[in-house]
Amino acid sequence: MPALTDLLFYGFAGLALLFGFLCVANPLSRNPVTSAMFLVLTICSLAGLFVLLNAFFLAAVQVLVYAGAVMVLFLFVIMLLDLKEEERRKLNKVALGAGTVAVAVIAGILIRAVTSAKPAADKLVEGTTKPLGRILFTEYLLPFEILSLLLLVAMVGVILLSKKELK
């Protein structure tokens, strides 16, 4: 592999992890808007990693749907609820410690597990629109259709839940 892609991997991976950390545990700000913006950056970095993995279509979808639509929704709700900075309540140190330990154990288990994985084949597949579209509308036609039901549920649900109950 050329050195450039190696560097790009470390760049995107480092950025994704850094932004991810800043999203969930920003030491400087507890503002949800900050978290949301860092989540957008994480998602974009992940899109970069997708490109490195030849998943071009998904990289585009990631930026369009996730960073675009989903995060806009988040920001919209933050604004709607007019959330100020997360209240600085007294932290339960025991709970926080236990949580961190649990997460560390999970991280350890996952890393140990994934480093035992072996690549099965080194043939390259291109995740472009055409092959993905082909497989989507043949083999995975049924789940694709079911997505429409899922969206219907979401639509009905969102309208009813966010509407004010009129007396």
């Binding site: 709970a95 236990a98 949580g99 649990a102 997460v103 999970i106 288990i109």
Partner: protein, 673 residues
């Protein structure tokens, strides 16, 4: 009339119903269910029709049972079963079927007979109760369930009816559910039985997994061919199955429910807690006795049991229960509770007999006991009815003259229970003692004799205090004899109490269990045909009366000795404790003995500490194990549980997610090991 002639005559009479005996058995089983359904659906409003339905069904069942008894019990027809597929799911195949053989036909007679009499009696006893039809629904349902146990030809079916008996007895004990104590007692009975059933079901599942069948006949055959079929679990499986019997037959430490269950109406006590339900455990042990005839084998973890067999443990538990309950009975003042503890004690006796390798003796005692204990309970009910629901014997007295029929039959029942020759109890008790002695259990034999003495003592005490002397309360003074619906069953029950053992019942049972073994004991060593018995009945009386003393003198003489000693003590202590009309006559006698205090002192020195110890042990178990865990758990343990639960189920989402994550981590770590 020889065997075949009798058989032919019966089969000739049978076609009215069906030519196949197993169909008759099915019909017997379904009759009470039909009655219950009929009452529920059709005549729920009519007291008269409800009772008629129920009694008619049970009496018909009794008559049919008698037909079967003549065919299979007396005529030597081979056992039949008629299975139909209930379920075939992969390896788990269960057929529902009835077993008709000597054992089940005899038990059918006992169950339907007592049930019919109790129902007739209930017409008088429950007269005026506003839930009269509901009571008969309960009785019919109970009879149905009980017949199911008797006829079941496999473990699963037996367990099914086993639990149904639990449910229907729960309904009957809690019949007066407005009474808090009755409702609690019903719950306690149900829960304690479930504790035993837990072991029973586990045993069934183990047996099924190891042997691949739950059918009694197949199991018996397989175990006969491969005695090591159950491997190292043989004894454990046997004990687990025995746990079921411990629950139903109220063996220590699961005996706690039986005395409390006396809160139910007295006919229920007579039916359930004397003759049938509590006998189910013993019957089941006899039915699956083949399970205990395999080589003793313990898994590694229980190897310390060594050569102690499952039967040894069963025998020990039975003897301990018998002793414990006899000690308790001595202390009771409630007429029903005395009888309840007496029942416990006698059940312990039967279980002890099974443990000594004498299922025939156990069944023999079960049969005779069913008769006289039902009689005693119904007699007690008659007394309670007459004394306006007074149950304290010290508030009775002098009932002998006011209720002559009740007194006479009650006295006969007492004599039979005490084992007075030639009444039925004597022979069955003798068989139990003989089984202990013959099979090398001298300690159990000794205990048996001791318990026999105690039995006589407390029963005589009851009779002396309640029936003799003069009335110690208003109610007792104005008691009057109960109506005919109540006294006739007493009279009828008195007949088997006296004469049951005059037919060669012991041989009949021995023949059933030990045909191949030549292991015959009891009076007479060959099967005597029914016809011959009838024709020579009077000639035999002499023979029967003295046979036990000739055949095996030690148990017979010791048993009779125990009777005399027990009676002597009772009379000495209680005759004088009365202000009865005969103080002058007997006063001098008692003074002449001058050792009433001597007995009191012995009593205080030996029996009270022993009694206290046992009572404390039982109470501890009742309070902490049964009560704490199951029945009364609502208070202390629930509080603790709630506090522990609050930590986990705090309502905080992040606590939840933390436990989720920690759970995943833990499962991975445990499973990786």
């Amino acid at each position: 009339m020889d065997v075949h002639a009798a058989h032919n005559a019966v089969t000739a009479a049978a076609p009215a119903f069906s030519s196949r005996p197993e169909d008759i058995a099915w019909f017997i089983l379904l009759l009470p269910l039909l009655a219950a359904a009929g009452i529920t659906l059709i005549v729920r409003r009519s007291n008269f029709l409800a009772a008629t339905f129920s009694i008619a069904a049970t009496v018909t069942a009794f008559v049919l049972s008698f037909v079967l008894f003549l065919m299979f019990g007396v005529g030597d027809a081979a056992a039949v079963t008629s299975p139909f597929a209930w379920l075939h799911a992969g390896e788990l195949a269960v057929n529902l079927g009835v077993t008709v053989d000597k054992l089940s036909t005899l038990m059918l007679l006992v169950v339907t007979g007592v049930s019919a009499l109790v129902q007739v009696y209930s017409v008088g006893y429950m007269h005026g109760d506003r839930s009269f039809p509901r009571f008969f629904i309960g009785l019919s349902l109970f009879t149905f369930s009980m017949l199911g146990i008797v006829l079941a030809d496999n473990f699963v079916m037996m367990f099914l009816f086993w639990e149904l008996v639990g449910v229907s007895s729960w309904l009957l004990i809690g019949f007066w559910y407005e009474k808090e104590s009755a409702a609690d007692a019903a719950k306690k009975a149900f829960l304690t039985n479930r504790l035993g059933d837990f072991g029973f079901l586990l045993g069934i599942i183990i047996i099924w997994a190891a042997a691949g069948t739950v059918n009694f006949a197949e199991l018996s055959q397989k175990l006969g061919a491969h005695p090591d079929l159950l491997g190292s679990l043989a004894s454990v499986a046997g004990l687990l199955v025995f746990m079921g019997a411990m629950g139903k037959s109220a063996q220590f430490p699961l005996h706690v429910w039986l005395p409390d269950a006396m809160e139910g109406p007295t006919p229920v006590s007579a039916l359930i807690h004397a003759a049938t339900m509590v006998a189910a455990g013993v019957y089941m042990l006899c039915r699956v006795f083949f399970l205990y005839q395999v080589e003793t084998a313990w898994p590694a973890a229980l190897a310390f049991f060594g050569s102690i067999s499952a039967l040894d443990i069963i025998g020990g538990i039975g003897a301990f229960t018998a002793l414990l309950a006899a000690l308790m009975a001595i202390q009771q003042n409630d007429i029903k509770r005395i009888l309840a503890y007496s029942t416990l004690s006698q059940l312990g006796y039967m279980v002890m007999a099974v443990g000594c390798g004498g299922p025939d003796a156990a069944m023999y005692h079960l049969t005779t006991h069913a008769g006289f204990k039902a009689l005693l309970f119904l007699g007690a009910g008659s007394v309670i009815h007459a004394c306006h629901h007074e149950q304290d014997i010290w508030k009775m007295g002098g009932l002998r003259k006011l209720m002559p029929k009740t007194f006479l039959t009650f006295a006969l029942g007492t004599a039979a229970l005490a084992g007075l020759p030639p009444l039925s109890g004597f022979y069955s008790k003798d068989a139990v003692l003989l089984a202990a002695l013959d099979n090398g259990h001298p300690v159990l034999f000794g205990l048996g004799v001791l318990i026999a003495a105690m039995t006589t003592f407390y029963m005589l005490r009851l009779v002396l205090v309640a029936f003799l002397g003069s009335g110690r309360s208003e109610a007792a003074g104005h008691a009057h004899e109960s109506p005919g619906a109540m006294t006739w069953p007493l009279v009828i029950l008195a007949v088997p109490s006296v004469m049951l053992a005059w037919v060669p019942l012991g041989d009949y049972l021995t023949h059933h269990f030990f045909t191949d073994h030549g292991h015959v004991h009891g009076h007479g060593s060959e099967v005597i045909s029914f016809g011959a018995t009838i024709s020579a009945a009077f000639g035999l009386v002499n023979h029967i009366l003295f046979e036990p003393f000739n055949h095996a003198p030690l148990p017979a003489f010791l048993g009779t000795g125990a009777l005399i000693i027990g009676a002597w003590i009772a009379v000495t202590l209680y005759w004088n404790a009365e202000r009865d009309p005969l103080p002058k006559l007997l006063g001098s006698f008692a003074r002449g003995m001058r050792n009433r205090f001597y007995f009191d002192e012995i009593y205080e020195a030996i029996f009270i500490p022993l009694h206290d110890l046992v009572a404390r042990l039982a109470d501890w178990f009742d309070r902490w194990v049964v009560g704490g865990l199951a029945v009364r758990g609502a208070h202390g343990s629930t509080e603790l549980l709630g506090r522990a639960l609050r930590i986990v189920q705090s309502g905080n989402l992040q606590t939840y997610t933390f436990f989720f994550v920690a759970g995943v981590a833990l499962v991975v770590l445990i499973a990786l090991k």
